[in-house]
């Protein structure tokens, strides 16, 4: 059902009114209603725990060996909430407005407002669970500011906020497992959804230890399976992060929203060679004190310390004198790519730029020397004191950098390069988080989300937990209230039989190709196409080429992939092959979406659509809509448009000058 189902009424009253009138399910009936949840990150684990507490019969699935390993765990920075503990003017409205604007006016007002409205409850819930957020000496919670926002609304636990939030949700989930309301299936992967009479009624999952296929019934199915950044092969995602669950749902009729909206983070540790398997983020806060540069000479073989000041190109300061090194993420990312593509990159791979702290160390050092009353300090004094300040601010990041690269960032500049980090696109959902298939929901990064064309820092954790703790527990009742007369459908039903057959035939087909190339090698090639032609900058010719190349790659994959081992056993090669096959299909859709969207907005930059000074040029007259793609047949999609109405936050051109 392609209707956004936004409640009537003024923006600030919609959610309250909705909650006041939504259908409820009585406790006795909840016990016979079964809910399946795919994925146990922040959205999935919080939903599983909350629905279990309410009395529903929940089955939760994850492909990892424990629900605690979901990739939400790797989030560093923090979680936003409109608590206004700092008395600095924050409010639900400000958080809503920042999020809409940050998303470059490509998200749905009503959903974003609800997100902001429930944000404060998330912090309360997490603290009650024992999440050890950072505190001040008075014992109250500490806040910091993030990414260009003018208030301090980010709660954090050192650089491990995602870990602490996930452990909170994981513990709540395990408590329900102990109480018997949630049944947990680890090392399981969802490979198909089962639809009976137009409603989602279950899944086919593969036990990744034994290789057996299992049928599971549910009155509703919730997908909380994360984002699809690994379509680029190299990203900050975990190795196992994949699109398979969402993609199976898409092919069964769930529309895919804004697939081309991807976030590329400017400061990551660069690729060192063909062996590279993943990329690691270095917090953006480093750009406050670091200066970004490359040599003025192409292919300069000298070490950074041997290049004199006059022969360095501080290209961000040169091109953007007003913002300098603090230009927005997309601008910083594209500028680094431009320099490297032009032959000025540094390091072994030449795909990196320097982030240099020498100036900051000297500046801080001089200030410290003054503070300590050191007259006529030597260069050594200044450096010593400067390093101390930088260590206190960024010590853990410098340590992580040193471990990975073997270089000391206190003495030699960091090498950094942009990397794929998050996907704003995902399964299209209505106000109630339901996809276009009745009874199938999507939460967290798996849905097309509240972030429009660009996500603000510290907002992903907020959205995952909002969906799981405070949205789905209400909205799912509105659907399940009409299902109380539906008895559990036996999995011997013909629809389960048919779905299992599709899965087993596909697995056999994959295995029987008996080709010569590994799933990994296809994944790498797909990633290169996507990164080169559907990455930081996109243009019509490149996207058209990419679509042709991906189609050829798909044909080659299904002709020549080699999967070792057997189907009926623990076989990571087989798991990987299935995920790569889905990524290849998704890659084509992303290119189609990027080709269709002839405007630049947020993380989506079409080279044809830019201002004279290289800024993104949005086209509100023609593209103020969510692109929802319906799968028709192989390489064939139909575009549906959800027009975006802005009643409160009126679109304006973002300017960083």
């Amino acid at each position: 059902m392609f209707k956004s189902n936004i409640p009537d009424g003024s923006l600030d009253k919609k959610w309250e009114d909705y909650k006041g009138h939504v259908k409820l399910v009585n406790p006795a009936n909840k016990r016979s209603l079964e809910v399946i949840i795919i994925g146990t990150g922040l959205a999935g684990a919080s939903a599983a725990a909350s629905l279990g507490e309410m009395g529903y019969k929940v089955k939760a699935f994850c492909f990892q060996d424990s629900p605690r390993r979901a990739h939400s765990i790797a989030a560093q920075g923090g979680i936003n909430a409109a608590k206004n503990y700092q008395n600095d003017g924050d409010s639900t409205f400000r958080l809503f407005y920042d999020t809409i604007k940050g998303g470059d006016y490509r998200s749905r007002e009503s959903n974003v407002y609800r997100l902001a409205a429930v944000s404060a409850s998330i912090i309360d819930q997490c603290v009650a669970q024992g999440v050890p957020f950072a505190r001040e000496y008075g014992g109250l919670l500490s806040n910091r500011s993030f990414g260009g926002v003018q208030v301090q609304r980010t709660f954090y636990a050192a650089g491990q906020t995602g870990q602490q939030l996930l452990i909170g949700a994981y513990q709540a989930l395990e408590r329900q497992v102990a109480l018997g309301t949630v049944e947990m299936f680890t090392r399981h992967e969802m490979l198909e959804i089962v639809i009976i009479d137009g409603k989602t009624r279950g899944i086919i999952a593969r036990n990744l230890v034994t290789g057996e296929l299992e049928r599971h019934f549910g009155h509703a199915v919730l997908l909380a399976s994360g984002g699809y950044g690994n379509v680029f092969y190299l990203s900050t995602n975990a190795m196992g992060s994949n699109v398979t669950a969402a993609w199976k749902a898409h092919k069964q009729g769930a529309y895919f929203g804004n697939p081309c909206f991807t976030q590329i983070h400017p400061t990551c540790i660069p690729v060192t060679g063909d062996h590279q398997s993943k990329l690691t983020l270095m917090s953006e806060s480093l750009r406050n004190d670091g200066r970004i540069w490359v040599p003025k000479e192409k292919n300069d073989p000298r070490k950074p310390g041997e290049i004199p000041e006059a022969e360095r190109d501080y290209y961000l300061e040169r091109r953007y004198p007003a913002f300098g090194n603090l230009v927005p993420r997309d601008v910083a990312s594209r500028a680094a790519k431009e320099r490297c593509d032009a032959g000025y990159g540094v390091g072994t791979s030449k795909q990196a730029v320097y982030l240099d702290f020498a100036t900051a160390i000297e500046r801080y050092g001089k200030t410290e020397c003054r503070k300590h009353g050191i007259d006529n300090p030597t260069a050594e004094d200044i450096r010593h004191h400067g390093v101390e300040v930088v260590k206190e601010k960024y010590g853990n990041l410098f340590d992580m950098y040193a471990k990975i690269t073997g270089e000391d960032p206190y003495t030699t500049p960091m090498r950094i390069y942009p990397a794929v980090h998050y996907t704003m696109g995902g399964l299209w959902v209505d106000y109630e988080l339901m996809t276009t298939i009745p009874g199938l929901y999507a939460m967290g990064e798996a849905n097309f989300s509240d972030h429009g064309a660009n996500r603000l820092g510290a907002s992903a954790l907020m959205q995952g937990l909002a969906d799981g703790y405070f949205v789905i527990p209400y909205t799912i009742g509105n659907y399940l209230a009409d299902e109380i007369r539906t008895k559990a459908i036996p999995t011997s039903h013909a629809a389960f039989e048919a779905a299992e057959k599709i899965v087993s035939e596909r697995l056999s087909q994959l295995k029987n190709i008996n080709g010569t190339q590994s799933p990994e090698s296809f994944h790498k090639r797909l990633g290169k196409i996507m990164w080169d032609k559907c990455g930081m900058a996109r243009n019509e010719a490149g996207l058209k080429e990419a679509i042709e190349e991906i189609r050829a790659l798909k044909a080659e994959f299904w002709r020549d992939v080699r999967i070792t081992g057997n189907i009926a056993e623990f076989n990571p090669e087989l798991d990987k092959a299935g995920r790569v096959a889905d990524f290849i299909e998704l890659g084509e859709l992303m290119c189609q979406d990027a080709l269709m969207r002839r405007e630049s907005c947020g993380g989506h930059f079409r080279e044809e659509m830019q201002t004279e000074d290289g800024e993104a040029k949005r086209d509100d007259a023609n593209f103020s809509f969510v692109a929802a793609w319906e799968y028709k047949s192989d390489s064939n999609w139909e575009l549906h448009k959800e027009q975006l109405e802005f009643e409160v936050a009126h679109p304006s051109q973002r300017s960083y000058k």
Binding site: Q64, P67, L140, Q160, H275, Y469, F570
Partner: protein
């Protein structure tokens, strides 16, 4: 940092499944860059094996940035290899030199049965958490987050314990395969916070009972767990756990 390449000999534990006896197999790898991570070296070896039509080595891994706790190799007699405070995925090849022989085994513990090659079943850890490693608060029950101030020192110590990634290196390093460092980290995390107060006594008793049931051994305070912990969880947590356990026993209402 000067980069170099190396040729290595690997002795890797291969075991088809839980029932298989298993044995070491020897492999050689060449032109390994010092810039690679340890797992990327395994990727190279596995790609070659797939190319040769052989079955690659199964190993657990996911985030590859040292936080998910999934990777679990026992390298040259030490969980997660030679670097201190480092997971296998963050270990880099510059820790080795040309010509080295590296022995790689799975975690060895009765409570962590081998699934295949280097992959083990750590679900016992989840069951220990189920026994009481949580605070019983339903969604929606919470009071305002700042209603209960918490001493900064206690909050920080709680956080340091909560940083445990549940990888199981402590068990693998322990001669008795005790899970006490893991368990004590969770007990400390929750006992140090006022929110964890109401269930303090039952939590520690129930979690220890579950640990015993899973077949983990006893702690002899050797400290091997602390030495290998990639998150450097201090053994003082075990002292706190002992105090909690004693207190629960002495003041039990039951």
């Amino acid at each position: 940092m000067e980069h170099y390449t190396m040729n290595l000999t690997l002795k890797v534990w291969r075991q088809k499944n839980k029932k298989d006896k298993g044995s070491f197999e020897t492999y050689t790898v060449s032109d390994i860059s010092s810039e690679m991570s340890f797992l990327e070296m395994f990727d190279v070896l596995n790609e070659r094996m797939v190319h040769e039509g052989k079955e690659p080595i199964a190993f657990d891994h996911d985030c590859r940035e040292g936080i998910c706790g999934m990777c679990s190799m026992y390298i040259n007699g030490r969980p997660h290899g030679p670097w201190e405070g480092t997971t296998t995925c963050q270990l880099h090849m510059r820790a080795f030199k040309d010509g080295d022989t590296i022995v790689v085994e799975p975690w060895r513990a009765n409570a962590f049965p081998v699934i295949k090659d280097l992959v083990v079943d750590r679900s016992a850890f989840d069951r220990i958490i189920q026994a009481g490693g949580y605070i019983s608060v339903n969604t929606g029950n919470a009071v305002d987050a700042n209603a209960t101030p918490i001493e900064k020192n206690k909050a920080d110590t709680s956080f340091a314990a909560a940083a445990c990634i549940g990888c199981g290196a402590c068990v693998a390093a322990c001669k008795n395969s005790s899970a006490l460092l893991f368990l004590s980290a969770k007990v400390s995390h929750l006992a140090l916070l006022p929110q964890g107060g109401p269930e303090r006594k039952t939590r520690v008793v129930d979690m220890i009972a579950q640990m015993d049931k899973e077949g983990f051994g006893s702690c002899t305070s050797t400290g091997a767990c602390e030495a290998v912990c990639p998150k450097e969880i201090p053994i003082t947590n075990i002292a706190r756990l002992n105090a909690e356990y004693g207190h629960a026993g002495l003041t039990s209402d039951k």
